[in-house]
Every structure is written in C-alpha cells, then in structure tokens.
C-alpha cells in the first residue's frame, strides 16, 4: 500500500524537478500577490499586521489553484492516467500519492517562503512561527480538496475557471482557521486550537478526498 504511494510520489516529484519553471512561477505568483497588497492599502504597520494572515492565506489559495488544473490533466493527455487507473491497486492510493506530491511541490514552498513575506507585513516572532505552521498544516487540505475539483473538471472546456468555482467555496474552512490561527496568536489568545483544527481538516481531507477524486477520475475516464 505504501509502496504504490511512494512510487507515485517519486514519479511526480521527478517530473516536477524536470519542469521547475512551474513550481517557481506559482511561488512567484504568491510572492507578487502578497507584495501588491501593501501598495494597494498603504504602509501603516498596524493595518498591515492585521491584514497579513488573510492576505497570505488568500494568496496561498490562489497560488494553489494555479497548479491544480495540471494535477491530472497532463497524465490524462498522454495516456498515463489510464495506465495508473489500470494498475493493480485502488486508484485512491494512486491519487493519495499524487496529492502528496502536489503538496510537496506547491504547498511546502509556500510555507517555506511565508515567513519572509510575513516580515514584510511586520509580523513578529510568534506570529511568523504560527503563520508558517498554519500554512504547513493547512495546505495539504488544499491539495486534497483541490484534487476532487481537478478530477471533476478533467478534460472540460474552461476547466480552470470552473475548477476555481467548485473548489474555492470548499476552501473556506481552511482559510478561516488558517488565518484565525495567526490572528489569535497576534492578539495573544494562542493559536493552538486553530492549528489542531487545521491538522484535523488536513487528515480528514487526505483520508477522504483521494477516494472522491478517484471516483471522479473513473467517471472522467469512462
């Protein structure tokens, strides 16, 4: 069971490494969107500190959306998705591997660069730490839920826009608790509760989403 998951992760990571431009451009998108906000709303540190969690999280959602349409589309186009679906394993495990690989190349880099951007928004020690932890804990859920949307819109006209329409509403809980964790920490309430809820959502979506995505992929492959 773990073998197939690791096999898929290994393959997808290798592919991503051969196509680093994609990872880098999603990351730069994140950086640029976050950096534009202070230009739009003014440089007052108090205001920026207040907006930081929300801005960073919304930008993280959008950056994730950017890479989602290709999660299955490339494999679909060249026929490897059929081969994956025909492998003698449950398709859900294959999708689990793909979701984890997607997180490693899209979510993890966001978490790594988030502290730097947090500094731009005048966040301090604790806030930065919790921001990173929240993005680290929450982005796997984004990859998981996003996989369902990517599978449902596979091969459709205007799939990218449709994907955002389907997936963004489902991202709301992650956004609320992700940004809430930083807010609570900055205001001195402590963000542990939020972080544990985020972790719960991530585990729930990693358990549930791959199987829903697998069902959607089977529908798309009929």
């Amino acid at each position: 069971m773990l073998k197939i998951i690791f096999a898929v992760i290994g393959r997808d990571l290798k592919l991503a490494m051969r196509r680093q431009a994609d990872i880098v451009s999603a990351l730069f998108f994140f950086v640029i969107v976050v950096s534009l906000f202070p230009l739009g709303i003014g440089p007052e540190p108090d205001l920026l500190r207040k907006l930081a969690p929300g801005v960073l999280w919304v930008a993280a959602l959008l950056a994730t959306m950017l890479s989602l349409p290709r999660l299955f589309a490339d494999d679909h186009r060249d026929g490897t998705l059929e081969q994956l679906a025909l492998a003698p394993h449950p398709l859900g495990l294959v999708v689990t591997g793909k979701v984890i690989a997607h997180w490693l190349v899209s979510g993890l880099p966001l978490a790594l660069i988030a502290p730097v951007l947090g500094v731009q928004f005048d966040l301090t020690g604790d806030g930065l730490f919790v921001l990173t932890a929240a993005i680290l804990l929450g982005t796997p859920a984004l990859s998981g839920i996003g996989a369902i949307g990517a599978a449902l819109t596979l091969g459709l006209r205007g799939g990218g826009v449709l994907l955002s329409l389907l997936v963004l509403p489902l991202y709301i809980p992650v956004l609320i608790f992700g940004a809430g964790a930083v807010d609570a920490t900055v205001s001195g309430l402590g963000g542990e509760g939020h972080l544990s809820l985020l972790a719960a959502m991530t585990f729930a979506s990693l358990g549930f989403a791959p199987w829903a995505s697998a069902a959607a992929l089977k529908i798309a492959l009929e």
Binding site: L152, L156, L166, P169, A212, I219
Partner: protein, 248 residues
C-alpha cells in the same frame, strides 16, 4: 420486494413523465392555497413584533426561502446518492431540475436577508454566519450548475454533478460551523418548535409560507424535469409517441 419493484417502476422516465404531468397542477394549486393562507395570517392578522416593528414580516419569506435553499440541496444530494448507488437515470434528472430553484431560493434568502438587515442592523450586509453560509450555498449551487452544463455527455454530467453534491453535503456542516465560529453576530435561532419565542399566529403564518414554498419548488422542479426527460430520452419510443401527439 414489492416496494422495490414499485420504486424501479416509478424511476423509469416513461412512467414518471405522465405521473409528473398529472401532479403538477395539484402541487401548484396547493402552493397557491398555502400561499394565500400564509399571507393572510402573516400579513393581515399577525400583530406587530414589539422589538422589530413591522419589518419582521420579511421573516415570512426569508425563513421559508432559507429553509428551502438548504432542503433542496439535501434533496439533490439524496438523488445524487441514489443515482450513484443504483445508476438510475431519473435521479440525475431530478437533481438537475431542482438546482435552479434551489439557487433562486438561496438568492431570495440573501436578498430578503439584506432587506431585513438594513433596518434591523443598519447595514445591507453583515458577515454573520448564516448569511455567509447562505452565500456559500449559492456558490455551491452555481458550481453544480456550471459543472453539469460544462459536461456534454448527460450521464457523465449526472455522475460528476452527483459526486460534487455529495462532497458539498459533507462540507456544508464544516463550512457552517467554521463560519459560525468565525462570527456570531446573528440573533439566535428564532424558531424553536418546542418553545417558541414567536407569537403563534406568526409561527403558523411562517409554516404555511414554508409549505407554499415547498409545494412551489416541487411543482417547478417537476415541470423542469419533464422537459429534461424529453430532451434526454428523445430517441426512446415513448418520447416519440409523446411528440407525435399534441403535447403542451
């Protein structure tokens, strides 16, 4: 076994189509009757609310519309589950027929909520848990309709849409509680069947209006599903026979 047989019989479009045709006028008539009774009680008889003045009367459509918007989504998810489990053709058509009505109910709930909020809270929109969840529900309806519209093969559309509905149903409580936690500005639930804070006439008026909305939704959905059936089954003999006759 016998029930099962009947279920399958009614799940066949050829049987359901004429049945729906007969039922529509009844549902429409009942909706009108309930509507008249509800409006009479709510608008003419019910006394004013001492806290909210006459503005509270918006409740007679706001609450039924909100209920229906949630209820219709649940019914669609129910049909989706049936469709995915038993591969019945009718279920996907029912879900698709209900979606626009559900979306309109969600819109009405938001619209009346805004018109209620302005005099009560002094603002058209507050980011409170229920309004926000209702807005997200509207997004979910729109997402469902956009997804099914984007897929050309009706069966794939049914299955993919059904899956989306089930994912949505799992997520709605999570979304609702997260939004509720995020902001609890709204007044507490004003309807409680055991111990109501409302005058009885108000409660009855509201329940009558809810029945009216319910019957209305069924009637419109049945009308829509009949069209979808003709369209989908256009090569079936019963549709050809139907079209050869003088259909309205």
């Amino acid at each position: 076994m016998k029930d099962r047989f009947n279920l399958y019989r009614f799940a066949s479009p050829a049987t359901f189509y004429p049945l729906a045709g007969t039922l529509i006028p009844y549902f429409a008539a009942i909706a009108v009757l309930f509507g008249i009774a509800g409006l009479y009680l709510g608008m003419l008889v019910a006394p004013t609310d001492f806290q909210q003045g006459e503005g509270y009367r918006i409740i007679f459509i706001h609450v039924p519309a909100s209920w229906m918007s949630m209820f219709i989504y649940l019914v669609m998810a129910f049909w989706a589950a049936i469709g995915l489990a038993f591969n019945t053709r009718l279920s996907g058509m029912m879900a698709q027929a209900l979606a626009p009505t559900g979306a309109l109910m969600a819109f009405l709930s938001l619209w009346t909520g805004a018109l209620w909020g302005k005099p009560m809270w002094g603002t058209w929109w507050v980011w409170d848990a229920r309004l926000t969840s209702e807005l997200i529900l509207l997004f979910l309806y729109i997402g469902y309709m956009a997804l099914t519209a984007a897929i050309d093969d009706p069966r794939r559309a049914d299955k993919a849409g059904g899956l989306l509905l089930l994912v949505g149903v799992v997520n709605i409580p999570i979304i609702y509680f997260s939004v509720k936690w995020w902001n609890t500005l709204h007044q507490g639930s004003s309807v409680n069947l055991t111990k109501s804070s409302m005058a009885t006439t108000m409660l009855y008026g509201m329940l009558l209006m809810a029945m009216c909305f319910w019957m209305y939704s069924i009637a419109v959905a049945l009308m829509r599903v009949r069209t979808i059936m003709l369209e989908r089954e256009r090569n079936a003999d019963w549709v050809k026979a139907e079209l050869a006759g003088d259909v309205q």
